[in-house]
């Protein structure tokens, strides 16, 4: 068994608006002098520490947990799962 770090990033699917990102962009960043920024999207991340035999089963396990615990709603969000060695 090896320990892995698994990052789960949850964000709105494309085409679905992200009011928080828009507010941060328009009311904070663009009010300063930072005109090279053209977009901000927010996401939520969960960082799991998991003991599994390999990367594949770590990823599989985490996907299972996300679905089972309804960590995200597939109607609105998508997840990206990245596995790293710890």
């Amino acid at each position: 068994m090896t320990i892995f770090n698994v990052h789960v990033t949850i964000e709105n699917k494309s085409g679905i608006s992200d009011p928080e990102g828009e507010t941060i962009l328009n009311d904070l960043v663009l009010k300063g002098t930072h005109s090279t920024i053209t977009g901000i999207k927010t996401a939520k991340m969960l960082k799991f520490t998991i003991k599994e035999k390999d990367k594949k089963s770590a990823k599989h396990k985490i996907q299972e947990i996300c679905d089972e615990l309804r960590i995200y709603n597939p109607m609105v969000s998508k997840v990206t799962i990245d596995v790293f060695d710890s």
Binding site: N12, G15, I16, S17, D18, P19, T23, N26, D27, R70, N73, M75, V76
Partner: protein, 720 residues
């Protein structure tokens, strides 16, 4: 989105040509059940809508009641069932947003929200738990951010809502009568779209709400943006103060299609608009998409050239986008263009008035034997069973819900959630009580009497605070109306509500119909929901702390009415029996008596008996006040019943009254004189809640233990 074949024929013959694709989309949105009320409209007319306090004005989406001294309150109710069933957080949140805009569109400031929630069995069903938790968070996040207090509501769990959710939201507004928007428009006036940008989210929402929920592929997810909504509220109210709004309508189901056609139809004008002028979120949206998008947080305003500059200035201050999308014409046509090109050009009366249906109805066969009772298995330990009942999700304290809602912002909430109705203070020194109630378990067994019962319960709740009911909101939620058996239950409920409203002279000031509420395993139980507004001229009854020695008096009779009760359904797992029936005359006598006695200012507390019957109502008084009580069941007025029936019958028109010993005479004198059925049934004191029947103890619970269970069980259930 599409029209039925006969609707397409109807449209073609009315306009004398083949409709364009954009026209088809517009009409399909507007003729959907959700927007057109095509199944219900001819029947809804039976409800009494007028009254001495009702102010009606064309094009209003909310009811308006005159509360005196130049002030009005407005009220409306909406649901967001289908969206909440797939995305509970966003669905519930945008439900709040929608009804708030209805209130705003009359030119009044929203001052309160109430929510009615329904889910499957959260004890067993994880999906139901997820829906519940997220719907509550959605309402909390939206209402709290707006700074509008959510002052109360109700919630019920029943297997008939498995894999589904009903999220109803009612809102109340307050303002000066002179500030009400008097919807009007003249040729050449400008049509302005104000608020969030129009995007692809929520396309087909109203159609969605008119379908049964089956496919997973729904584009109807709407992302709530309470921050924009808050800015819109302030923008509109400032514009109202400066008299910049000639007419106004919120964008809800059906998006621009409905807002434009209904405004034009209500004001007998035409509107010409250009989709290119609409501020959109994505650059490549088609005219059809723009017309039917149900993006949230948008308002349609009619103003004129002179006022526009000032309006734009206010919008700039709040960073709210506004676009002039068209102007008012005199030809009664809804003319939608993209630049120079015409996409749709339809008579507004055609768009705004779908062909109304008179659907067949038939008494459902399940009702044949529903009143027959099965033999109940004996209860060996009533105290234990009572504890179980107190922890059941339908009975347990709802503090986990209203504790997440800012119910005090606005500093009007004089009586806060946790008891019966909540009460708001108004600027003219009067008070407004409000509560919503439903009871699908009763309504399933008897759609007519069940609906009347919800109405009476909501009245009882406001009466407990000393308020006289002045207006009613109804929300009628049923399954597929094309099924005659379902449609019969709809009609029965409606007739019951109408009878009660007429007898009590409580006008219906607003309502909503939500049909096609079907879950994978069938239709929901009939779920009418009734909201009652009550006015208090002098001061509300603030419950005082109950102390040892205080008397407990019950008003009203306890009958053998356990059909649909929590006792039958939760403890005995039995659906059936006789549902409680409201006796109108008795109801009125008791209601008036309670109001009169409250006015005499010697009562400590009043609480009605509802879910869980007498046993639960008494326990609630004890648990809230952390004091015991001894109740003698044989003293309870009504026909002689077994102890469990007296304890748990859910008969209506019953009130518990708490008073100091020394005031009993005064109370009895009044009640006897007015021929009210009542009796002294108990006395407070000690640390135990005790019910006995002829000195035989039936239930004996420690108050503190009961209180802990009742208070925490919902939270523990949700947080696992």
């Amino acid at each position: 989105m599409s029209l039925e074949p006969q609707e397409l024929d109807d449209l073609t013959s009315k306009i004398g040509r083949k409709p364009t694709p954009t026209e088809l989309q517009i009409v399909a949105a507007e003729w959907s059940e959700h927007c057109s009320y095509k199944s219900s409209k001819i029947h809804l007319k039976m409800l009494p809508m007028k009254g001495p306090l009702v102010i009606s004005e064309k094009g209003y989406d909310s009811g308006v009641l005159d509360v005196g001294d130049g002030y009005v309150i407005t009220a409306h109710i909406e649901s967001h069932n289908h969206p909440s069933a797939v995305e509970p957080y966003g669905g519930a949140a945008t439900g709040v947003g929608g009804v708030i805009r209805d209130i705003l569109s009359t030119g009044t400031r929203p001052i309160a929200i109430l929510d009615g929630l329904r889910f499957g069995d959260i004890e067993k069903d994880l999906q139901a738990r997820w829906l519940f938790k997220n719907a509550v968070t959605g309402i909390a996040d939206y209402g709290n951010c707006l700074g509008i207090p959510t002052i109360g509501g109700e919630v019920e769990f029943d297997e008939c809502y498995s894999n589904y959710a009903l999220v109803d939201v009612a809102a109340i507004g307050f303002g000066k009568k002179k500030d009400l928007i008097k919807n009007h428009a003249n040729r050449g006036d400008l049509v302005v779209l104000l608020g969030g940008s129009t995007g692809r989210d929520g396309i087909g929402g109203s159609q969605f709400a008119s379908d049964s929920l089956e496919s997973e592929d729904r584009s109807a997810v709407q992302i709530p943006d309470p921050f924009i909504e808050k800015l819109i509220i302030e923008t509109i109210l400032e514009a109202r103060n400066q008299n910049l709004i000639n007419a106004m309508k919120d964008l809800g189901g059906g998006g621009l299609s409905c807002a434009v056609s209904e405004t034009a139809d209500a004001l007998s004008i035409g509107i010409e608009m250009d989709v290119d002028k609409v501020h959109t979120r994505e650059s490549d949206m088609s005219p059809d998409e723009i017309m039917v998008s149900e993006s949230q947080e948008r308002m349609l305003i009619i103003t004129n050239n002179e006022k526009l500059k000032k309006l734009e200035k206010i919008c700039n201050k709040f960073h709210v986008k506004c676009s002039v999308i068209g102007h008012v014409t005199s030809d009664s046509m809804m003319h939608v263009k993209k630049g120079k090109k015409t996409c749709a050009n339809l008579p507004t009366t055609v768009v705004a008035n779908a062909h109304l249906l008179d659907r067949p109805s038939k008494k459902p066969s399940y009702l044949e034997n529903i009143e027959q009772e099965k033999k109940l298995s004996p209860i060996s330990n009533y105290s234990k069973m009572m504890m179980r009942l107190l922890s059941s999700p339908n009975i347990a304290s709802k503090i986990w819900i209203y504790g997440q809602y800012d119910h005090e912002v606005g500093i009007r909430t004089v009586i806060k959630p946790g008891k019966d109705a909540s009460v708001l203070r108004l600027d003219n020194g009067k008070f407004l009580a409000a509560k919503i109630d439903g009871n699908p378990k009763h309504c399933y067994i008897n759609p007519r009497e069940g609906a009347i019962g919800c109405f009476e319960e909501a009245c009882r709740n406001v009466v407990c605070t000393g308020a006289k009911p002045i207006g009613m909101l109804d929300h009628l939620q049923f399954g597929n109306p094309e099924n005659p058996e379902i449609f019969w239950t709809f009609l029965e409920s409606l007739k019951g509500l109408t009878d009660f409203a007429k007898y009590f002279e409580i006008p219906c000031v607003g309502g909503k119909v939500s049909l096609y509420n079907e879950t994978p395993s069938g239709p929901i139980k009939p779920t009418p929901l009734i909201g009652i507004l009550g006015l208090i001229e002098k001061k509300p009854l603030h419950s005082q702390k109950i102390t040892s020695g205080d008397y407990l008096v019950i008003i009203g009779e306890t009958k053998n009415e356990l059909g649909g009760s929590e006792y039958f359904e939760y403890i005995h797992k039995f659906v059936g029996g006789k549902c409680p029936i409201v006796n109108f005359k008795e109801s009125k006598t008791n209601m008036n008596a309670v109001l009169d006695v409250i006015g005499k200012d010697f009562l400590k507390a009043v609480h009605d008996c509802s879910k869980g019957g007498l046993a639960v109502a008494v326990s609630e008084l004890c648990m809230i006040n952390q004091i015991g009580c001894d109740v003698s069941l044989e003293k309870v007025p009504g026909p002689k019943l077994d102890a469990d029936r007296t304890l748990f019958s859910e008969s209506h028109s019953r009130y518990l009254v708490v008073l100091d010993k020394k005031n009993l005479k005064k109370l009895e004198e009044y009640l006897r004189k007015n021929k009210v059925s009542y009796n002294l049934i108990g006395q407070f004191g000690g640390e135990n809640i005790r019910f006995s029947s002829g000195h035989k103890p039936i239930i004996d619970l420690r108050v503190d233990k009961a209180q802990k269970t009742w208070f925490n069980s919902l939270k523990e259930l949700v947080h696992g």
